[in-house]
Each structure stands twice: as C-alpha cells, then as structure tokens.
C-alpha cells in the first residue's frame, strides 16, 4: 500500500450527520442513489481510518447501522471525485431532503 504520491489522488472529507434517525432506510436509499450517479470510486467510513465500504451499495451502507449524530467519512477516487464528495456532503447536510436524479421523493 503506497499512501504517498498517488497519481490518481484519493480525496477525503467528513460530515456530521444530524438526521434525526441516522442512516436509516430512506437516507441510505438517497445516499446510494446519488453515489451511483458518479463514476468515481466512492467509499464510506465511520472513522477517518475506515474500515471503508462501497458507498454505492445500500446493503453495505445499511450494515454500518450509523445512528444519528455520527460523523460520516467519505473517500473518493476518480475523475469526478471532487464533485461526488461535494454532492454527498450537501445531501447529508441537507438532511437527505434533496431529490436524487430527478426522481420524485
């Protein structure tokens, strides 16, 4: 594992989730739907050191059982990594209210 000087940089960010039920069914659906609209490899962790799971898999996202008031860490790698992280943070900060991919809520 080489953590230095990656040609394809891994970007990371974190966001405090205040949704009153945590990463429950509906927020998880929205999060994974949004993640899937990006080409970048997107991963979710509950600590800055991981473990990291695929943020495009609702099965894996639900298994984190992240309760309310958890800090979510995202890691992204790929061409649209920066935009993907910004969108995910906006979704969490917006309390998962945003419509994803134009679908009706």
């Amino acid at each position: 594992m080489d953590h230095q000087e990656q040609s394809n940089a891994t970007l990371t960010t974190s966001v405090f989730m205040t949704h009153d039920v945590g990463l429950h069914a509906r927020p998880s659906v929205k999060l994974t739907q949004l993640a899937k609209t990006f080409a970048a490899r997107l991963e979710l962790g509950l600590s800055p050191e991981g473990p990291w799971i695929d943020a495009k898999s609702i099965v894996k996202v639900m298994r984190t059982k992240a309760p309310k008031d958890t800090t979510l860490y995202f890691r992204a790698e790929g061409a649209d990594a920066e935009a993907a992280l910004a969108a995910l943070v906006a979704l969490v900060e917006g309390d998962f209210q945003a419509d994803v991919g134009g679908e009706a809520a």
Binding site: D20, H24, T32, K60, D69
Partner: protein, 540 residues
C-alpha cells in the same frame, strides 16, 4: 387433549396501534420449507437471478400503487434487492454446488443476523424487511407465486410477526393484527398507526384455531379469544363510543385548545423513549411536559453513556421542532429500581434515597446525564427538571453540578444554561415553592397524592384516597399555581391526572393552564378542555 367448548381467554400484550376490532382469527401458514432439487450451478444461478428479478418487478408494481411512507419502505426493499452485494454470498455458494434456495436462505440469514443484533431498535426492526425479501424471493424460487392468504373483513391476523410487504399487499380496513413477537418501532407498527389498523404485539406463545372468535383491543393491548356474551357486550359499547369520539376528536386534535371562555391551555406530552414519538404529529401538542429519562436506564447491564443519552435527547428535541421539552433527570428508586444504582434493601423505598437525592449522592452518574442534556440543549428549547425535591438547598446543589458539567464541556457547552425547574411531588415543595430559585415547576400528581394522602400508589383498597380531587391535594395544587404566578414562572402538571378527563375539570378549576399527558390521551383531554368554562364547569 380434551378440549371442550372454547373458553374465554384473554392474552395481554403491548398496544402498538389503537383500535377495537371484534372478529375472527386468521393465521397464515409459515412459508413452505420444502427444498427444491438442485440443478447444475449455472441453472441454480439462473434460477436465483430470475427469482430476484421477479421479486423486484412485483415490488416495483407495489411501489407505483403506494405513496408516502409505504412507497418509501417498498422502495428501500427494491434498492436492497437491486444491490448485487445482497446475493453475492448466495452466488458463491451456488458455484460450490448449493441449491439456489438453500444458498439464498443462508446468505440472507447472515444479513438478517447483522440487523437482529443491532442495539438501535430501528435497525433491529430492519431484520423484518430482510426476512420479507428472503421469503419473497424464496416464493418465486419455489414457484409458489403470490399465494399469501388474504385476510377477510373482520379478520384478526394472528402470526409471529408480519412483513411490511405482506402488510402493504392488502387492504386492512375493518381488520386487525395480533403478533406473538413484533416491535412497536417496526415499519409495520408505524404503518398500522398511520392507517388506523389495530395492532397488538408481544402476545407470546398464544395459539388459536383459524375461525376462533376474538376481540382485539389495540388500546389496552389485549386479545380475548372465544369471548363470552358479557365481554362482547362491553366491547361493543366501547366500539360505538370510540367511533363517535374518533370523528369528533379528529377535528380538534392537531389544533391549539382553549376553554369555552377562550382561555388558552397548553397540552404537553409525557414520553419515556423517543420511539414513542414515531408516527405522531407534533402539531397535536404544545411541547413535551415530561421526558422520563430513567427509561433509558432500564433493562440493561450498564448505565447508558453520554453519547447514547445525547442521541435519545436529541431525537426528542428534533421531533418537537422548536417546541419546549422538559427533561426530568434520572428519577430512580421508589418503584423504579436500577441495578447498580439504587439502594438494594431500603425498608421504605418511596421515602428513601430516590430521585434527586440519589443523583446528588452519585454525582458521577448525574454528571453524565447533565452533560448529555447540556449538549442536546443546543438543538432546541430543552428544560431540566429535578424530581423529588424537598428543600431549596437541593436545587442549589444540583445547579452547582449543572454549572460544573457545563464548564467541563468547555466550548461544547451552550451559551445559556437551560431552564432549571423542579417537580412538585413532595408537599414540602408545594408548601414552600417561593423559597426555590427556579425557572419553572411541574406538579407530579401521582407522588403528590401518595405523599399528601399517605396512600401508597400500589396500595389496594385505597382508591378513594388516590385522587387529585381530594381536598388537600387540590389545595396544594391551587397554592402552587398561585405561588408560581407570584414568582412569574410557568407551572404545569404531568401526572396521570393531566390526561384524565374527570381530573382535568378540577385542575382547570384551580387555575392550571398547562397539562402534560400520555399521547393517546390528547384528543379526549382537548375535548374536555374545550367544553369547560370557569363559570359553569362543563357545558353541553
């Protein structure tokens, strides 16, 4: 077995969705456990793929036919099935020669176990969504199709638990559900409350033949099997009264209430756990008048830590959406012992080291709660209420601990300390209220009655003494209300009397204008308040 004529038999459970239904028992057969014959790995993989696709199609059709919460729950199930991760393990087992149905069941058993082991009741309840998915795909694999037996009108479905999609697959008007297991925070319980389907759960190992006559009581949380004529007649009377009442209450429940003379009365809720608020519209109340925080401490091996307490308090404040929330600090002791905290062998626990007395004796436990409350108070108007207070000095000690807790939080402490108040439940507090430096007070009528009338709350044959209308109790309340007015502080009442229509008249009569009660009592309480007038009690 020598069963004679069926005998009336009442089983107690937990009321999860209100309603009264007289009908007959319907019981579903458990999903058939027959195995298929395994084909080649590629045939089995194709069979599983087809079954999952069929399940997605069926659920997709149901999503289109639903809206709101129901559509969300089904949408979640579709998303889970569409995720290739879900069946990954099953395909791996198939490649090693397992039959598709066996492989799927094993893979899902692991997924279900992950959620069943969750600490959070919400995530725990998701195991039933996964069981639902498991069975739906299994039925498709086994060619069983959608042969779920429909519940006819008047049917009371008696099963261990019920899957959300099974619930959503049928009309539940004039039907009810009785579960041997189940959870009040499951999707099905939320849906049942939203749709007004009576649901009683936690009935245990009750057995009844299909077709057995039964009374389902979603208010008391009971199922009466083979009811006799008397039980039926009583039930019918309650049903009629409830039907009329429901119509009348629906018009007033989510609106502010005032007496007949237009004097506004605040209606507040008593809650123990945040889960009780799920599915409730905050518009039915003006805030929360009592959070019984000790419920977070029950039935567990260790005391809840600061994070867990913070999460629970935060959830309640967010639900209240800006309405005030009164958190009562840990009220252990008396009839509420907590292992490792309360004194094990007090001769007279109700007169012992309980409530604030215990917290002052165990400041390390109290501090954890105060820190959690202080942090949560950043999220909404939280108030802190001390139980079992007799002397003004006790409040000063608690205030010092609150300030110390705030200092220990440093930058995480709120700019302003939350309002600090007391419960009036010992006559000493009622008689000397003006000596207390407090921001609010709330009358705990259950204990105030017990301590004023020297009549134990659980004492039998003492009913005539255990009434808020007893002259001495009412006088203490009237004097407390008058004192609070002179002090310029809010005063409410949060005992059982607050939601009892008979008691409400007496309480309004002595000047109380803030009443806190259990959520199911709100409708009736508002109706009583609206018909009450200062000059003449209750009008037509």
């Amino acid at each position: 077995m020598t069963d004679s004529a069926p005998k009336e038999h009442c089983v107690r459970g937990e009321a999860a969705s209100p309603g009264l239904l007289a009908g007959r028992i319907v019981s579903h057969q458990a999903a058939a456990a027959e195995s298929r014959d395994a084909g080649s790995p590629s045939e089995e993989a194709a069979a599983l793929e087809a079954a999952i696709a069929a399940a997605i199609t069926a659920l997709g059709l149901m999503v289109e036919a639903s809206e709101g919460e129901a559509a969300e729950i089904l949408g979640f199930q579709v998303a889970m099935l569409e995720d290739p991760t879900l069946a990954e393990e099953a395909y791996a087992a198939i490649a090693e020669g397992r039959a598709a149905d066996q492989a799927w069941q094993d893979a899902m058993a692991e997924q279900i176990a992950v959620f069943a082991a969750a600490d959070d009741s919400y995530f725990q309840a998701r195991s039933s969504d996964l069981e639902d998915l498991r069975d739906r795909v299994l039925r498709a694999l086994q060619g069983a199709g959608e042969e779920q037996q429909a519940v006819p009108r008047g049917g009371i479905l008696l099963v261990d638990d019920i899957a959300p999609s099974t619930f959503l697959a049928q009309d539940w008007a004039e039907r009810g559900i009785a579960l041997r297991a189940g959870s009040a925070s499951s999707h099905v319980a939320m849906l049942a409350r939203a749709r007004g389907v009576p649901l009683v759960l936690g009935l245990g190992a009750v057995q009844a033949d299909a077709g057995t006559a039964a009374l389902l009581d979603g208010e008391a949380g009971a199922l009466t099997l083979a009811p006799g004529p008397e039980a039926r007649a009583v039930f019918q009377t309650r049903q009629r009264a409830r039907a009329e009442e429901t119509l009348a209450l629906a018009r007033i429940i989510d609106k502010p209430v005032a007496t007949a003379e237009g004097d506004a009365v605040a209606v507040l809720l008593n809650v123990a756990l945040p889960e009780e608020l799920e599915g409730l519209d905050p518009a039915i109340c003006d805030g929360i008048g009592l959070v019984r925080s000790e419920f977070l401490f029950y039935g567990r091996d260790s005391l809840p830590d600061e994070e867990e307490q913070f999460a629970a308090y935060a959830k309640i404040l967010r639900w209240a959406a800006g309405r005030p929330v009164i958190f009562r600090t840990l009220d252990a002791g008396g009839d509420k012992p907590i292992a490792g905290l309360t004194e094990p062998d007090e001769g007279n626990p109700f007169l012992g080291r309980r409530g604030l007395r215990l917290c002052l004796a165990r400041p390390e436990v109290f501090k954890v709660q105060l820190r959690a409350l202080l942090r949560a108070s950043a999220l909404g108007p939280a108030k802190i209420m001390l139980p079992m207070v007799a002397l003004a000095e006790e409040v000063e000690q608690a205030r010092a601990l609150l300030q110390a807790a705030a200092e220990s939080l440093g930058a995480a402490a709120p700019a302003d300390l939350p309002a600090l108040g007391i419960m009036i439940e010992i006559p000493a507090a009622a008689l000397t209220l003006e000596r207390f430096a407090i921001d609010f007070a709330s009358i705990g009528s259950n204990d105030l009655i017990q301590y004023t009338m020297a009549a134990a709350r659980d004492g039998s044959g003492l009913g005539y003494l255990q009434r808020v209308q007893a002259p001495a109790v009412l006088q203490l309340i009237a004097e407390s209300v008058a004192a609070a007015e002179r002090m310029g502080i809010e005063i409410s009442l949060c005992g059982d009397a607050g939601g009892d229509p008979e008691a409400i008249s007496a309480l309004l009569g002595v000047g109380l204008r803030r009443l806190s009660m259990a959520p199911p009592a709100v409708g009736r309480a508002k109706a009583r308040i609206a018909s009450w007038s200062e000059s003449g009690g209750h009008g037509g």
